[in-house]
Each structure stands twice: as C-alpha cells, then as structure tokens.
C-alpha cells in the first residue's frame, strides 16, 4: 500500500467523470489532473486550470520576428548594399511590409510549436509519457496523488460511486509507450 503513488479512476462516460470530479471536490480531495481523449467543455473552470499564457508568448514571438526582419532589411537594403530601386528611398517601408509580416507569422508559429513541445515535454526522440494508455483512446481518467490524499479506500469508494469502471493504484507516475 505504501508504494502507491497515484490513484486513477477510469470512466467510460464524460458526464460521469464530471460527476466524479464534483464528488471528489466536495470531499476536499485534491485532483492531480484529468486526462480525456477529447476536449471537454468547461472542464478548465471546474478544475481551476490557470489561463494559458500562450497568447502572450505568441505576441512576443511575433514582435521578435517583426524586429528581426526590419533590422535585416535595413542592414541589407539601406546600410550594407544600397541600390536605387525605382527612385525610392533605400529603406522604403511599404515595400518591406509583406516580408516583415511573413517573418512575424513564421517566428510566431515556430515559437509556439517550440513552446508547446517545451511545456508538454514532447519533442522528437522523447518517449511520450502517459498515466493511462486508454486516456488516449476511450477512457476518461481522473488522477489523484496518493501521497497527499491518504484515505485511499474513501477515494476508491467515491470514484466507484460516481461510475468509475475501474480504479487503479499505480506505483509509478507514468507508464510510457515503450
């Protein structure tokens, strides 16, 4: 019993799982996380998940792209090798708006993909870590930290009562695909 790290309640139905979350929260049992095969509306608010800061990151990645391109264009077209194109100023801003826009988007997109990989610990070559394989298929999993919440039998009962098809006591946090 003492080696149990996580208790997983496995549900076959999202509504029952939501009901299970309510039950656990009523009994002041802290939920570690919830894994579902599909997005569930309103679950962030229920679990108190903090708002993603991805949009702020996106803004700064974008601004970086804008500055990079404008600097480069200024260096190339006005400083290092000025060429007279149609009698316009060397640093003719309207001409360079499209490419600046493109680089803004590019930096933003690459930056966001990178942030996503970094925050989800998922990048090429790394084995993905999951707590229960069926959460990627047809089961809705509630994970509870067994070290923090010591009354295991009560948790089991609450989960079963809410309609859990299966309750697992795991001694490892993650099982990997490997």
């Amino acid at each position: 019993m003492n080696n149990i790290k996580y208790i997983l309640g496995s549900f076959g139905d999202p509504d029952e799982m939501m009901h299970g979350i309510d039950k656990l929260q009523e009994n002041n049992i802290k939920i570690h996380d919830v894994y579902t095969p599909m997005p569930i509306h309103g679950i962030e608010a229920k679990l108190g998940v903090k708002r993603s800061r991805l949009d702020i990151a996106a803004f700064f990645f974008g601004i970086t792209g804008t500055c990079t391109m404008l600097t480069f264009v200024y260096f190339a077209a006005a400083y290092d090798w000025p060429i007279n194109i149609g009698g316009k100023p060397h640093f003719a801003l309207p001409d360079f708006i499209p490419i600046t826009f493109e680089l803004t988007i590019l930096f933003c997109a690459f930056g966001l993909v990178g942030s996503y990989y970094a925050s989800s610990h998922l990048f090429p070559g790394r084995a993905p870590r999951v707590m229960d394989l069926r959460a990627t298929d047809d089961r809705f999993i509630i994970a509870i930290d067994a070290k923090e919440n010591t009354d295991h039998s009560k948790i089991d009962d609450l989960l079963k009562e809410a309609g859990a098809l299966e309750v697992k006591h795991n001694e490892r946090k993650y099982i990997s695909y490997e």
């Binding site: 509306h41 949009d55 803004f59 149609g86 316009k88 309207p94 001409d95 708006i97 499209p98």
Partner: protein, 404 residues
C-alpha cells in the same frame, strides 16, 4: 448547461431619451443640409457629404442583411439570439436605398456629382471638352446604364433583406423548420449575388467620382469597410440595449465573437487597403499614382488618421481576449471603428469631388450627425415592432448557452 428564464416576448420600447436624441440629430442634419444649399459655392461640398453618408447608411444596412445571410449559410448557432438586431438594420435598407438613389440622381442632374464622366461634350470628338479616356469608358459609364445598375442592385439587396426578415417573422408565428430551410436557401442565393455585385456597386458609387483612375481592389476594399462598420454597429446596438436592461441573454461570449469579427475584419480591411496601396506605390505608374498623389497633397492628415483609427486602434485594443469580452472597451473600439470608416469614406470621396477645397465644418459634422440620427431612429423603431428574440429559431438554445 443551465436552464434559463428569459422572457421570450420581451420587446424594445422606443421612447424617451433615445427617441428625443435621434430626432434632435435629424433636425441638426436637416439644418446642415439647409445651410449647405444656402450658398451656391457650398453645393458640391454638400452633395459630396450627402453621398458619403447616404452610401455609409446603405452599406451598413445591407451588411446587416449580409450578416444574416452569413449566419444562415454557416448554420451558426451562437448568433441566433441576437439576429433581431441585424434584421432591423436589413429592414431599414429600402429607406437607405431611396435616399442614396435620390442623392445620386440629384447629383447627376445638377452636375454636382460624377461630373468627371457626366458633362457636356466629354464623348464628342469635335468638342473642346472631349476626353478620350472617358469616351472609351462611356459604354459602361453613361447615365441610363449607371442608374439602371444602381436601381437593380439595390432593389435586389432590399428584396433579400426584406425577405429574410419576413421569413424570420413567419418562423415566430408558425414555428417548425420550414422558414429556416428557406432562409438558408435564399441566403445562399443572396451571398452569391452580393459577392459579385458589391464591387461593381462600389466602383459605380465611389470610384467613378475619379473616372480616369481605376483599381480592381477597390470593390473589396469597400466591401471590407462596409462589413466591418456594420459589425461595429451591431456591437454598439447590442451593448447599448444590454445597458438599457434589454437582451439579458447576451453574454460576454457573444461579445467575444463580435469582437473577434471586428478585430479580424479590421485586419482584413487593412490588408485590402494595403494591397491597393502597395501595388500602386511599387509600380509607380502616373495614371495610378495620381490617386494617392491627390491624397498626399491635400489630405495627408486624413490619410494617416484613417490607418490609425481603422488599423492600429482595433488591433491594439482588441488583441487581448479580455478586452473583446469587456463591454465598455468593445463599445469604445466599435465607435472608433465607425468614426474611422467615416474618415475612410471621406478620403475616398472628397478628393474626387471638392478636391483641395475640402473642409471639416458644420456641413460635414451636421450631415453625419443627421444620418446617425436617422439610422438610430429607423432601426430602433423597426426593432421595437417585434420581440427581441426569434423564439422559434432552431439554434436558439445553442445561442442562449453560448460559452467560449
């Protein structure tokens, strides 16, 4: 998904401050028109302003019909409970159309508008006035065909606007899915016609003021302007109704969607505007650059103000999610966008009519205020005729439970 206790028979009462203010605004408008016609020298300026506001008025109303059609074709659920607002705008379209046609007809008749292609001797090779370019375009730009096109286009838009409103009325009375299916079908037809004809409508009404110059982007540029200003108008009406205690079912998520629309289409407007500008700037051909030359010579302040109000303001203020959901911020941005598109139309129309003699005084402000009053009066009056919610709309529950 909670249950709701909304009053499905709630109706807007058009009385009190809104009514008084809109009537005062109309009176100011009439005074401005009267002042404009009191002196011969002001006629052209008055006509240009009348054209600006009549065009703006018609565009906002027909984009209301366009909004309805888009929602039906996309089978959108979120908007079902706010459809009465664009519907009221669509129902006002015939009034706007009549005003626009009168302004254009009178302008043509008195040679105050469109005199660039409509004047004596322009197409007569023996005349001193002969203009080869205008002669070449005269198969398209002649008064009967021009007015004929306007009447046909605007009549078609009005027909679809009224018909969509009528179907929604039938839906209220009979229920069932018949009206919805019909709305879907007629919306599809309307969108195809609208998409192909609004560019021509914009070419005629605005671009032909400077008939030597042409731009194929102009139609979409105007379409973007009319669509975003109409969205801003819908947002303003909704927020003000909500502040007055009506439409309690409109929540932050509905505002969020409208905010996204305004944000997105402000960027779309800038994109089309810039497409037109960049190509002309880059190619640098005299027959094209003359358009921006005029604007840089005499309208430089308006030219940059246009970009600040229509691009920088909505992009910077609406970029944040919380701002789109915030009633007062969205209201402020919508008003900025509406003013911005007045500036946009101003520097589309004025350089081709009054050229360097433009001004910003009682005529401009008075006529704009007058048309705003007329719009408010007619739309709110129409809105007060029917319940504020289409109670038999098939997606109503989805809209009431809308949550982002």
């Amino acid at each position: 998904m909670g249950t709701h206790n909304y009053n499905f028979t709630e109706q807007f009462e058009f009385t009190g401050k809104a009514k008084t203010l809109s009537i005062i605004a109309i009176v100011i408008g009439i005074a401005a028109i009267g002042y404009g016609f009191s002196a011969e020298a002001l006629h052209e300026r008055t006509f240009a302003n009348l054209l600006l506001m009549a065009y703006y008025f018609a565009c906002v109303c027909m984009s209301g019909a366009f909004f309805l059609a888009v929602q039906f074709v996309a089978q959108a659920g979120w908007s079902a409970s706010i459809l009465r607002v664009p519907e009221a705008m669509a129902k006002v379209l015939p009034i706007a159309v009549i005003i626009l046609l009168i302004v254009m007809g009178a302008g043509l008749y008195t040679h105050n508008l469109y005199h660039h292609w409509h004047a004596d001797g322009l197409t007569d090779p023996s005349s001193a006035n002969y203009d080869k370019l205008i002669d070449g375009k005269s198969a398209f730009l002649n008064v009967p065909f021009f007015m004929g096109r306007q009447v046909v286009f605007l009549a078609i838009y009005s027909f679809f606007a009224m018909y969509l409103a009528k179907l929604s009325n039938n839906e209220d009375l009979e229920g069932g899915l018949n009206s919805y299916r019909k709305s879907f079908k007629y919306s599809c037809i309307f969108l195809v016609i609208y998409g192909f004809t609004t560019p021509i409508f914009a070419f005629d009404t605005v671009m032909s003021l400077e008939a030597h110059w042409f731009s194929t982007m102009f139609g979409w540029y105007n379409f973007a302007a009319m669509w975003v200003s109409s969205l801003a108008t819908i947002a303003i009406i909704l927020i003000l109704l909500r502040k007055a205690g009506y439409m309690s079912w409109v929540n932050n998520s509905h505002l969020h969607n409208l905010g996204q629309f305004i944000f997105g289409f402000s960027i779309f407007w800038t994109y089309v505007w810039f497409c037109q500008f960049l190509l002309i700037y880059y190619a640098n051909m005299p027959e094209e650059t003359v358009y921006f030359y005029k604007r840089f010579e005499h309208y430089e302040f308006w030219f940059y103000l246009n970009l600040v109000l229509n691009f920088l303001a909505p992009v910077l203020l609406l970029m944040d999610r919380d701002n789109k959901r915030h009633e007062n911020i969205l209201l402020a941005v919508s008003i900025v966008v509406l003013c911005g598109h007045w500036v946009d139309y101003y520097q589309m129309i004025m350089p081709g009519t009054v050229e360097e003699h433009h001004a910003f005084g009682f005529i401009e402000i008075g006529i704009a205020v007058g048309f705003v009053g007329l719009f408010t009066f007619t739309v709110l009056n129409t809105l007060s005729k029917k319940p504020l919610i289409p109670k038999n709309h098939p997606f109503l529950q989805e809209s009431l439970n809308h949550h982002l």
